[in-house]
């Protein structure tokens, strides 16, 4: 099975030959992979070198945290790749941006109002959690559509707080 795997922008062709052999850009690695204590912690022996990494899925990408370094990895087979490329580049920023609470917390500031123009990176909500003030930012340029929280309100993880269209 062949995959196009992109690591921090670098494209690699990864072919899984069998349980113990993987080719990266044609170079064959003898591998042995095991989930040491259930996901997402994996031990990989590759050409007898011992590696250990956390592997998290995040919005269609894989984050590999290994030896204190984070790798952003996209894994696609040919079909998926064709679909993504056909979809065009601008697809990501279309549609509304929904700011969801990344954790439960207390809203301590909402520096925007409906109708206001915002730039990607502008602060939409300041959320207090674990005694820290966390600035939550716009994911795209646009106009604030709805503000669904107010200062002093407690929010649940995943709750939509602001939408930007």
């Amino acid at each position: 099975m062949k995959y196009m795997t992109t690591v921090n922008g670098q494209e690699l062709e990864v072919e899984i030959l069998d349980e113990h052999h993987v080719a990266v850009n044609g170079k064959v690695y003898v591998v042995d992979m095991a989930a040491v204590s259930g996901q997402p912690l994996y031990s990989l022996l590759a050409e007898h070198r011992s590696f250990e990494g956390y592997i998290y899925e995040n919005e269609g990408l894989w984050q590999v945290l290994m030896g204190g370094t984070l790798y952003e990895v996209r894994v696609e087979d040919e079909q998926l790749r064709r679909l993504r490329l056909a979809g065009g580049g601008g697809g990501k920023e279309s549609g509304p941006f929904l700011l969801k609470a990344p954790m439960p917390g207390l809203v301590v500031a909402v520096p925007v109002t409906p109708g206001q123009e915002v730039k990607k990176g502008d602060v939409l909500v300041v959320l207090e959690s674990m005694k820290m003030q966390n600035e939550l930012k716009a994911g795209k340029d646009g106009k604030v559509e709805k503000v669904k929280v107010e200062v002093g309100q407690a929010v649940e993880q995943g709750q939509v707080m602001v939408s930007v269209v």
Binding site: D18, L41, L44, D77, G105
Partner: protein
């Protein structure tokens, strides 16, 4: 004297204090909010009392409930830990009023050091150097400030009296730019705090945050246990500490000079128990009093490692009215210790807090490694309290050895279920400036980024690719397996069964 101690705290510090009590043969009483029924301090204590809902103001900050539990359980003393009520003079006072020993300083010392202007005036009067500035004189006009500025010297800082968090703060490099900066600082302070008052403070460039641990008993003995280097900070939160400080190192004369000044500062408020004097130190080894923490510090273990003194046991000894177990000339620093604060925060996402259940934990162990933690595999990290979940402390014969040991311990430390600052520390320990010991309090914010740090290091993109591809491949097979079910894809069965096995 007392033989049962109530610990008015939670998390790793409650566990730390319980251990000290247990090793001294004292009974322990834990208190817990509804979020902490299964916390380690509840499990390790001899007794445990529920004190209310998760928010601290309804539980850990409720003096009335704590005193009630102390009386009900017959605890003769209360240890406040750090945070929560540790630096509230009225709590120390309330304990005194109820005839309960407060394991910490007396109310007067807490109150004096808790008020920045009073603390500054008190220690300055005792001959302790303070950062030159106008703090304490409020309501100065622009003209007055412009007149005083040259006496303080440039560069200097304009700071909001009501302030905090850098709001209303301006850096001034020359008299010419000062009027405009005063205006904007006042406007920002007014907007942020409803108070446009500002004061001036000399800007200490390339400043390090170095603190001196002191111990004082009720018999008038005050000693210091050397310094800790705490310049690795982010948003004024310490992330990594070491003892000795690389900028003090072998300069015993400088250490003793700072130590003696710290002792003087403590004596100025008739201090009792463990406390810390924080200094700003410039490149030329001038040092200025910053503030005094009238409690046990998070980073006390590094001092314990290099001096061999158990600070918590000394606190208890002092509270029992006994003299210090050490004289100043019995204190020597041996080797080098470091502490990495492991927070439940994602260093790759602006240190955003991370909550959830700890599904798996593998602690670093072996020689020269100490872990102080209040969490365990199966424990739930909630959003109610601060994000410090563990302290990784190592000792080495030299700074170089300590760095090597810290690196191996960080690599061994595995926490599954929440994101942690472990990768931050791994990157920090690869930075050449850090290794050289040349950093100041702005180092993390101005000269450090996780992404750049990653880019500088030896990386293994092919290995990351293999790992991610194998996992993605397996996910696909798993999904296909579920869908096709009966029509099993035999070409993949081997992979699948292997995966099942390793995931069991």
């Amino acid at each position: 004297m007392f033989n049962k101690v109530l610990i008015a705290n939670r998390g790793e510090i409650a566990v730390r204090v319980i251990r000290a009590c247990r090793e001294l043969g004292l009974q322990t009483v834990a208190v817990y909010s509804d979020a902490d029924r299964n916390a380690l301090h509840v499990r390790y204590a001899d007794e445990a009392y529920s004190i209310g809902p998760p928010p601290a103001r309804d539980s850990y900050l409720r003096m009335d409930k704590l005193l009630e539990v102390a009386k009900k359980s017959g605890a003769g003393a209360i240890h406040p830990g750090y945070g929560f009520l540790a630096e509230r003079a009225e709590f120390s006072q309330a304990c005194e009023d109820e005839g309960i020993v407060f394991i910490g300083p007396r109310p007067h010392a807490i109150a004096t050091m808790g008020d920045k202007a009073r603390a500054r005036a008190t220690v300055a009067a005792a001959g302790v150097p303070v950062v030159p500035g106008t703090e304490g004189k409020e309501n100065l006009t622009d003209d007055e400030l412009l007149a005083i500025a040259p006496k303080i010297g440039f560069p200097l800082l304009i700071k909001a009296v009501a302030g905090g968090g850098g709001k209303g703060m301006r850096e001034v490099r020359s008299p010419e730019e000062m009027p405009a900066l005063l205006r904007s600082a006042r406007a920002e302070a007014e907007a942020a705090f409803g108070d446009g008052n500002v004061y001036l403070e000399k800007l200490i460039e390339g400043a390090r945050h170095i603190e001196i641990q002191i111990l004082a008993d009720t018999h008038g003995h005050v000693i210091h246990l050397g310094e800790r280097e705490c310049s690795i900070q982010r948003r004024h939160q310490k992330l990594f500490e070491e003892s000795p400080s690389p900028s003090v190192g072998q300069d015993e004369e400088f250490r003793q000079k700072m130590g003696m000044v710290a002792v003087r500062a403590a004596q100025a408020v008739d201090y009792v128990s463990a406390g810390t004097i924080e200094f700003l130190v410039d490149k030329d080894k001038h040092f200025y009093f910053l503030e005094m923490n009238t409690r046990l510090q998070v980073e006390h273990p590094i001092t314990e490692y290099v001096t061999g003194v158990d600070i918590v046991k000394e606190q208890i000894r002092i509270a029992r009215g006994r003299p210090l177990g050490y004289t100043q000339d019995q204190i020597a620093m041996h080797g080098w210790a470091m502490e990495a604060r492991i927070n439940a925060e994602d260093p790759y996402n602006n240190f955003m807090p991370s909550i959830g259940r700890i599904d798996h934990m593998l602690l670093p162990t072996g020689p020269g490694v100490r872990v102080d933690t209040g969490v365990y595999s199966g424990f739930e990290i909630t959003p109610y309290y601060d994000s410090l979940i563990s302290k990784l402390i190592v000792w080495g014969e030299s700074r170089g050895h300590a760095i090597q040991r810290m690196r191996r311990a960080l690599e061994e430390y595995k926490i599954v279920g929440v994101r942690t600052t472990i990768p931050f520390h791994q990157n920090l320990l690869k930075q050449s400036r850090f290794i050289a010991g040349s950093f100041d309090t702005r180092f993390v914010e101005e000269r450090f980024s996780m992404e750049e740090a990653d880019a500088m290091r030896e990386t293994y993109p092919e290995i990351a690719a293999i790992m991610a591809t194998l996992v993605a491949h397996q996910e696909t097979l798993r999904a296909a397996h579920v869908i096709r079910n009966a029509k099993r894809d035999t070409s993949n069965w081997k992979w699948y069964s292997r995966w099942e096995r390793i995931h069991r």
